[in-house]
Symmetry: C2
């Protein structure tokens, strides 16, 4: 059997601890599968004294990850410290510059510096494994980079944030957003400050990485159109279900004629679609390829052991030896500059919820505004009585599902309806995405 | 860029034609992704004169696949002829013996001779890619062999036959098995003789391959417990739904203390599980790993282009160069002999449907037989009136869902109930599988 692969592990938190334990407990199994032993020979963390329940007896300790990346006797640098900037970035750059391959779980790092790191890796002959950075234990990077390599991908989309999917799943029981968020916080699914998750930033990081890989473009996280889930009400969820849909926070990246569309928004998916069947903290990612059709991967998007499983998969790929695929599936210099599709050019169906004043002509005025923009309606649902969400008793809830139209047309119609003064408050607008 | 990878393609039917077209039309894209050109330099099919709409001008034609595997100037032998025996097997063996790597879509070949082929490949330094052999375009082989390599897998299961899933999905509309089968035949989803699909043999081939890979054992297709879907009635489907379940034809392979359990049977899955949300001709495979938890892959299980996508993924993996994982994830000589768990030792919940004669004491007798076997019931549903399926008007349909018990206990209870003479016909028994 060949020489052992020497691993330097930077970060000994939940994920790092799980990686260390997995590599030691399953050393025999992994050696058989990889064709050579894999051994952690160096670790790096801030506090050397803390008891982590790990037997670190034989490994070399580093306080500075950059020093470990540059100087340690290691073949591969595993970064599970986190943070898009600062020591994690500096250490990964140092490792790649030294020709050492990197495995990282750091989505912020990839989303902000992915292409620069890919160039650095290619210049020095190193490779970057980042399966753990997107959707935890789901092998979506391997699927895009290796399995569907014979496809031109037209769309990649999915449920990329388990916190939001948990909240939306619970809201289907009729609970409010605030109640479900509090619940998610109590269970440890949501942070004390949940903004990063519920406003879609976490999903956006992952989507930007997937889009680069799927379409062979440079990464552009900043151009992602973002809408969070805090405006979704139980009334939206129940109306959606009545009309044959379910609401999910989806990240969607699509190749269009005018460029790449990237958005993270609450989205309606057909109840009969597999995506609608993803409940709770699970993640799911679907890929549309011109040869394979649509394939979807489902699994835990977070958690120490699920993330460690992905990290170890990348380590074993490198341990087996031989060339690995380029970071984003093709040489970094061949990635095309990112060209954003204008969000107003988005095409699709829409769900519209309006609180319409209960007076003669109100509905006719709304229908006219839709017709002026050539928007045709798939279904109309009007509920008697006042709005459960606390709107005025004089207003009735009207739900419209449109046939395919453009974002520009919908926005013009809704602006005109708002100006007409026939509705209370702002219209709710949710895009529809079909498999 | 390195030298071109020379491909010999044996079989020019639906899949072979799609592979040929994909490799020529996307030659530039594939070369960028693989790091070298990929060119079909030899093909083999029976009828040279047939117009397949392919430009075969520059390739060398062979009538005999064994001759091509042995003699042609190729680096890799792609077998999409089909058939577990005969020319396909002989040609694959010849290619491997000559040290040429093989990519195949042939599940019958793998299920009957997989381990022998793996030994042959290892002896000559060749590798075998067979992503296309199981669940078409779904990258389940790559997932098991590479992505979850840090896991000990406890279970792999799924919907492995699109024909059966289409029939069961349609039956949920209240149609009979025979009506839905006729429909599937009209649409080209089912063969004129559908036995191989509906009795579970096709799923069994795929399950046997997955089990070997998941558990590191030799393949044993013959020991798979098989039950087809022809005994399932619309009444079973609607009762299942009322009780919170859906019926799928599942292939399930599970590691138990007494050995490996492998079965292909109609199975109830919870309505809220992602597996229940797989409708129509789709396939889905779930893997339970001790680190990652459960991940599931969904997609088209058949079709020329989906299968070609998987074949080309394998070709590109080989084109990139370097060592590939062993055929079944670890060296063939380390695979353990298959040890079958006894089906009677199966543990799980059960759905039981009985036509109970409408007379005093009948239900009490049934309940006593369950109690004698220490079987406790999760739910009991009795419908008034006669059985829609045409049983006697004096009999009432009784549905039982049991808590976890063993197959031996259930069989003893059902045998005793049958002997008591309180029921009409045979009991229907369907196993429950939870995520």
């Amino acid at each position: 059997m060949s020489q052992a692969l020497r691993v330097g592990l930077a970060g000994l938190g939940t994920v790092g601890g799980a990686v260390f334990r997995l590599l030691s407990e399953k050393a025999g199994m992994l050696a058989a599968r990889a064709g050579r032993p894999i051994a952690v020979t160096a670790v790096c963390a801030r506090d050397r004294m803390r008891d982590r329940g790990l037997d670190l007896g034989t490994v070399t300790w580093y306080g500075d990850p950059v020093a470990m990346a540059r100087d340690a006797d290691i073949d591969i640098f595993v970064e599970v410290m986190g943070g898009g900037d600062g020591p994690a970035a500096a250490a990964v750059e140092a490792a790649l510059a030294a020709g050492r391959s990197v495995v990282t779980a750091n989505k912020a790092l990839l989303a902000t510096r992915g292409v620069a790191l890919a160039r650095l890796a290619e210049a020095s002959g190193a490779t970057i494994g980042y399966e753990a950075a997107v959707a935890g234990g789901i092998p979506i990077i391997k699927t895009l980079r290796e399995a569907v390599v014979g496809n031109r991908v037209s769309r990649v989309y999915g449920i990329l944030n388990g916190t939001c999917n948990y909240i939306l799943t619970r809201m289907e029981e009729g609970l409010s957003f605030q109640e479900c968020l509090a619940d998610a916080q109590r269970l440890g699914y949501a942070e004390a400050d949940p903004t990063f998750d519920i406003e879609g930033h976490d999903s956006a990081h992952k989507l930007a990485i997937l889009a680069a890989l799927a379409f062979g473009t440079e990464i552009d996280t900043a151009s992602i159109h973002l809408e969070g889930i805090s405006s979704i009400t139980p009334a939206d969820l129940s109306a959606a279900e009545e009309l044959g849909y379910r609401i999910k926070l989806l990240g969607v990246a699509r190749r269009t004629e005018s460029g790449i569309e990237q958005r993270v928004t609450p989205t309606m998916v057909p109840l009969v679609s597999a995506m609608a069947g993803i409940h709770g903290v699970l993640n799911a990612v679907a890929v549309d390829g011109d040869e394979v059709g649509e394939i979807m991967l489902v699994g835990p998007g977070a958690g120490g052991t699920a993330t460690a499983s992905a990290v170890v998969g990348d380590i074993v790929d490198i341990a087996r030896g031989g060339p690995r695929p380029a970071t984003f599936g093709q040489p970094a210099q061949t990635l095309t500059p990112y060209r954003a599709a204008r969000m107003r050019a988005h095409e699709g169906g829409y769900y519209i919820r309006l609180s319409v004043f209960d007076r003669p002509g109100a509905f006719a005025a709304i229908a006219r505004r839709m017709a002026e923009q050539s928007i045709s309606l798939e279904s109309i649902m009007q509920k008697d009585g006042h709005d459960r969400d606390g709107s005025d008793v004089r207003a009735r809830r009207v739900i419209l599902i449109t046939h395919e139209t453009t974002e520009a047309q919908i926005r013009r119609a809704l602006d005109a309806i708002q100006e007409d003064g026939q509705i209370e408050g702002r219209p709710q607008m949710i895009r529809i995405e079909k498999p």
